[in-house]
Amino acid sequence: MITADAKVILEVRDLTASVNGVPILKGFDLTVRAGEVHAIMGPNGSGKSTFSKVLAGHPAYVVTGGEVSFDGRTLLDLSADARARAGLFLAFQYPVEIPGVTNSAFLRLAYNTKATHEGRDELDPLEFDDLVRERAKLVEMDPSFLDRSVNDGFSGGEKKRNEILQMAILEPRLAILDETDSGLDIDALRIVARGVNTLADAGNAMVMITHYQRLLTYIVPDHVHVMVDGRIVKSGDASLALELERRGYEWVTELPGEGREHHGERAARPAA
């Protein structure tokens, strides 16, 4: 079971960020500990995806204030690729296509870059093939996908499964799943969820960003946060997601005071 004194992996304090000069994040706070699964829910345009992009270091998003520590390091000082090598993984809502680059070559480079960073040996193509074939089973991905160009011509569901495969290979410390459930049929959703559940352990953490409760019946979160207008306005356990499903987002948008309550709770918590 998760204990309150488990190591803090991610600590976001009063984060503000804008895109093209428009403020999107307006004082975002979040604490994620090892072994936890969090869900961030919220209506369209509330800034959920922006949060994931800002955290991962997308160049179009400008941080205007706040602090983020990741495993005790100042995350915002790192470049996007350094953040990834440090163990931050983003499963994209819309994975990009990279024609001409095979999935296996891409995955191997990503794996070996991280391995080198961590002082481990690189895997040669044959060794890597063994690893990737084994992990591909987790998301029921046909090995023929490995020889195809990255996401090129993949269906929506295949792209999402490919994201989870990458996660399975890179074994991140923190994975952010951005709308991983969108565009998935029920079978694909089940496959993806099983993959995520298998990968979740006491040493890592997951943050799921989702609009709907549907994914959360397969991956049960420890904490659910509701995001409205660039900040978290309400936090709770898995039952909050069900309540949201029942009462709709209007329920929380009408209660802006709830967010401050969460702030106070976090501030009172002893430092980890």
Binding site: P59, S79, A80, D81, V96, G100, T113
Partner: protein, 478 residues
């Protein structure tokens, strides 16, 4: 375009140095006297002098082509030095006799010579400022009857072959630059593969433009007789200069019955600085004639240099069942302009051609593919497949595709496919999110994009080409 990407594609030219060797040069400008001087310097037979003079007289009646999608200041053909030779007069018997300064130049360029050439299995016919200095492995090749030497030497030793084939594929009157080349060409390579001989090694020539302002007019002639085959590699670099240098080579290939010629080029001439100052003008006529039945000519090129490239390696498919291939990667950066492609002329029955063109544009460059597929009335059963892909890096460059198809009979199939893609911020972010930095990401995308072409390069050349593209796109990042 992000600043990182800008830096990445703004890699300074690494081969910018001038070798300090005394040159014997002709006065600037072109006249019949200059042509006579070139011819007499090279102790040429009368027929060759006549060939030159005829070409020159024809050239005087021609005007520069203007249809290509490039722009440059007018070229003053009277302000060019048409002949320049290293002063060493005596014939060199071995590499030990070569000017050490020259050897150091090749060292800097990484040219495999001496033992390195032996290890790599590559015979190098070195062209330095228009005159052949040394030829390696000639002896070994001669044992199987292969002639691999400079054109000048071929004129002396094998005049009948040269006289018979030179100008047979690219007539002196073919185009403005071919006419100019025919009038003033100084040297180049000659290859003759006799009947039934498979050349046991890749033949390689490294070109290098050295004397400032000296126009370079190379002439290459490769003949493969019945059932012969050869793979020929041409690789080029040039020192950094601030004035434009004109390069107008002519390459002619002749393939007789069932002969197979593979011609590969990696070209990395100085392209000018990021403001477009300096750089080589590369106006080349390359053409292969599949004269015999079931003969095959394959062009593979990796074009990364030159300020302006104007080049259409072509195949004339005369023999029934003959086939032509063109695999090209053209990378342009800064203010480089490339108008390149191929011509596949189907004349014989059941002739086949395949075109795979990959254009990469970065900076403010302009990269055009121009290809002609012409299927004649008698070319029943001819087939062509063309694939032209463009990759844009940043948003200030441009790519164009100009396919021309002329089909004069109903019993042939011509297919053309074209795509344009862009290395965008989202792709680079995707790589970054997987821990891969921009430089590696760009290199991986480019190599993936070029894979269909690189697989047709000989192994060591493919490695060189991959490195070269990396080099061109490597920046002050990381």
């Amino acid at each position: 375009m992000s600043a990182v990407l800008q830096q990445l594609v703004s890699q300074p030219y690494k081969h910018g140095f001038v070798t300090d060797i005394e040159s014997e040069t002709a006065p600037r400008g072109l006249s019949e006297d200059v042509i006579r001087m070139i011819s007499s310097k090279k102790a040429e037979p009368d027929w060759l002098l006549e060939f030159r003079l005829e070409a020159y007289r024809h050239w005087l009646t021609m005007t520069e082509p203007t249809w290509q999608n490039v722009t440059h200041a007018p070229i003053d053909y009277q302000d060019i030095i048409y002949y320049s030779a290293p002063k060493s007069k005596k014939k060199l018997a071995s590499m030990d006799e070569v000017d050490p300064e020259l050897l150091r130049t090749f060292e800097k360029l990484g040219v495999p010579m001496n033992e390195r050439a032996a290890l790599a299995g590559v015979a190098v016919d070195v062209i330095f400022d228009s005159v052949s200095v040394a030829t390696t492995y000639k002896q070994k090749l001669a044992e199987v009857g292969i002639v691999f030497c400079s054109i000048s030497e071929a004129v002396r030793e094998h005049p009948d072959l040269v006289k018979r084939y030179m100008g047979s594929v690219v007539p002196p009157s073919d185009n403005f630059y071919a006419a100019l080349n025919s009038a003033v060409f100084t040297d180049g390579s000659f290859v003759f593969i006799p009947k039934g001989v498979k050349c046991p090694m890749d033949l390689s020539t490294y070109f290098r433009i050295n004397t400032q302002d000296s126009g370079q007019f190379e002439r290459t002639l490769i003949i493969a007789e019945d059932d012969a085959s050869v793979s020929y590699l041409e690789g080029c670099t040039a020192p950094k200069f601030d004035t434009n240098q004109l390069h107008a080579a002519v390459v002619e290939l002749v393939a007789l019955d069932r002969a197979d010629i593979k011609y590969s080029t990696v070209q990395n001439w100085y392209a000018g600085d990021e403001n477009g100052i300096g750089g080589i003008y590369n106006f080349v006529t390359k053409r292969g004639l599949c004269q015999g039945v079931d003969s095959k000519i394959s062009w593979t090129q990796v074009e990364t240099g030159s300020a302006i490239t104007w080049k259409y390696p072509s195949c004339v498919l005369l023999g029934d069942g003959s086939s032509g291939e063109f695999y090209s990667v053209a990378l342009t950066n800064h203010l480089q302009q490339a108008d390149t492609g191929t011509k596949m002329i189907h004349i014989g029955r059941d002739t086949r051609s395949k075109i795979v063109s990959k254009g990469i544009s970065a900076g403010r460059s302009n990269n055009s593919y121009r290809g002609l597929v012409k299927v004649g009335a008698k070319a029943q059963g001819a087939r062509n497949y063309s694939q032209c892909d463009s990759l844009l890096i940043g948003d200030k460059c441009s790519a164009n595709t100009f396919p021309y198809l002329t089909v004069q009979n109903a019993a042939s199939v011509v297919e053309h496919e074209a795509t344009t893609s862009k290395i965008g911020e989202e792709q680079l972010f995707y790589f970054a999110q997987r821990g891969i930095d921009t430089e590696q990401a760009v290199s991986m995308i480019i190599n993936g994009f070029c894979r269909d072409v690189f697989i047709h390069l000989p192994m060591e050349f493919a490695v060189e080409a991959t490195k070269l593209l990396g080099l061109k796109l490597e920046g002050s990042v990381g």
